[in-house]
């Protein structure tokens, strides 16, 4: 359990949020031209990083907005929070 600083509402308990998994997975621009292998990559394959991960969260029990979080998955420490569409921090 940890606190997440929602960019719209401020710091709240993690239990108010829903995790949305790995961020910046871009939806294929031309889905009809994708091979089965490319679909599998897009739909199922994940980095599942142990360490610093870029991920999406939704404040489901709050403003219900999506945003991005940079979190170290080995100790759950949050490094940064940024809105959808913003450039990810280095």
């Amino acid at each position: 359990m940890f606190l997440i600083n929602c960019p719209f509402c401020g710091e709240r308990e993690q239990s108010e949020f829903k995790a949305g998994g790995e961020a910046h997975i871009v939806r294929p621009k031309q889905p009809t031209e994708l091979s089965d292998d490319e679909w599998a990559e897009y739909l199922f394959m994940r980095k599942n990083i142990k360490g610093v991960q870029f991920e999406r969260w939704n404040h489901v029990h709050g403003c219900r907005k999506w945003f991005n979080v940079v979190r170290d998955t080995s100790n759950d420490q949050i490094k940064a929070v940024y809105k959808m569409g913003e450039k990810p921090p280095n």
Partner: protein, 417 residues
């Protein structure tokens, strides 16, 4: 066996105050080269090495474990064993394991304390009733023992359950698999380690894999904290850390690693002589031989390798436990812990070759891998030895995520993913 356990060896060793028992497995330094390396010294990894040596006569094997054997999820689960899964492929896989469990203590000459006390799955709403009835029929078509119980029969089988129609999610019925039950998780790891060691397998603890060396699309060895080890085949059985190993080989897997929690209470006299699971309210409970209630909670929904879960998950599970078993209301919880489980999108495991020659993965068991330990080891050993899957694990290949031929077991997995 140099150290056969029996009533006679027990008496003999009593004369020397039990100080002269031979070590159950050795502590070797790694050799320069092995025919097969198994990464991960949990139950599944040790079972794989055991069956490779026993059934496929390959002796030059090492099991590499970064901590101590059985110190990961093997020692963290709630020890439930059952095979009442929905689809034919899963029924074949899990019942294969259950059949091995039934003779495992004799085979290993090690008491794994397999106790067929039955597992009951409760229904709390009409959809549960329909799903569980469907699953009972599917199980019976696959030769798996399963019966559907109505509320009165549930109460008769486990009298402490609150079957009042007035509770928030009343018990509308349930299924019972009588051949199902529990086993001692540590003993499974120790028994397989002892058996594998006896046949010449090197069990190397405190040896973490840091990299996988490839020559083109073929594996040639691994870098470890104890140096480089050459090999032709690598079997990865690293549970929550499967993706970490996969990344070392330049692969991605369809896995997400999440914390799963369990807790035990203070020990009390026998009160519940079966295993009861409730998927809908997320509560399951059994009682260990020491008398502790063993309670399984759910997974957190975020990726984490921290081996600790959130308190609200425990709170949710315990509130459901108290509603179903008011008799436990004043019991104190003694210990709580988390393990990292590798979850597949279809809640079924992967026992498969990969696109890298000589690299095999046994992963994705998610929240319910313990029950499959013997079968998983047997089938993974077959897959590695023959470079092709056994017919029982053919459906559990990595390619199913490309072909779309998934084995959706979210309903039977019993722990919400």
């Amino acid at each position: 066996m140099k150290n056969q356990y029996s009533i006679f060896s027990l008496i003999k060793n009593a004369f020397t105050y039990h100080e002269n028992w031979a070590k159950a497995w050795g502590d070797p330094e790694p050799k320069k080269e092995y025919d097969i390396l198994i990464i991960g010294g949990g139950g599944h990894g040790l079972a794989t090495a055991y069956y490779l040596a026993k059934k496929h006569n390959i002796k030059n094997i090492a099991v590499l474990e970064k901590g101590w054997i059985g110190g990961g999820n093997t020692g963290r689960n709630t020890t439930i064993i059952r095979s009442n899964y929905l689809w034919d492929a899963s029924a074949g896989l899990y019942d294969h394991a259950l059949k091995i469990w039934e003779g495992l203590s004799q085979e290993l000459n090690y008491n794994v304390m397999f106790s067929q006390r039955g597992v009951m799955n409760l229904a709390h709403n009409l959809q549960d009733v329909r799903d569980l009835k469907r699953r009972t029929h599917a199980n019976r078509l696959n030769g798996i023992d399963a019966v559907y119980l109505n509320t009165e029969e549930v109460k008769k089988f486990c009298p402490i359950i609150n079957t009042s129609p007035d509770i928030r999610y009343p018990v509308l019925g349930g299924t019972l698999q009588k051949r199902a039950g529990t086993a001692r998780h540590d003993a499974v790891a120790w028994g397989y380690a002892r058996g594998a060691d006896e046949m010449g397998v090197d069990i190397i603890q405190n040896c973490e894999v840091k990299g996988i060396k490839r020559n083109g699309d073929t594996v040639v060895g691994v870098d470890t904290t104890k140096g480089f080890i050459k090999t032709k085949k690598i079997g990865v059985v690293a549970a929550g850390h499967s993706s970490v190993i996969a990344n070392m080989a330049g692969l991605r897997l369809p896995l997400e690693s999440k914390p799963l929690q369990a807790l035990v209470s203070e020990p009390v006299k026998p009160i519940i002589d079966t295993v009861v699971m409730s998927n809908a309210v997320h509560a399951y409970v059994s009682q260990s031989d020491k008398g502790e209630l063993v309670i399984g909670a759910g997974t957190d929904d975020y990726i984490s390798y921290s081996q600790k879960g959130s308190h609200d998950i425990v709170e949710g599970t315990l509130s459901a436990i108290l509603e179903l078993y008011p008799i436990f209301s004043r019991m104190r919880m003694l210990r709580q812990w988390g393990g990292i489980v590798d979850i597949c999108p279809d809640a079924s495991p992967i026992i498969s070759k990969t696109t890298v020659k000589g690299l095999y993965f046994n992963c994705g068991w998610g929240t319910g891998g313990f029950k499959a330990t013997p079968g998983s080891g047997d089938l993974f050993a077959h897959t590695i030895a023959n470079d092709e899957p056994h017919k029982l694990n053919a459906a559990f290949n990595l390619n199913r995520f490309v072909s779309g031929d998934l084995v959706d077991e979210h309903g039977a997995a019993a722990v919400a993913h």
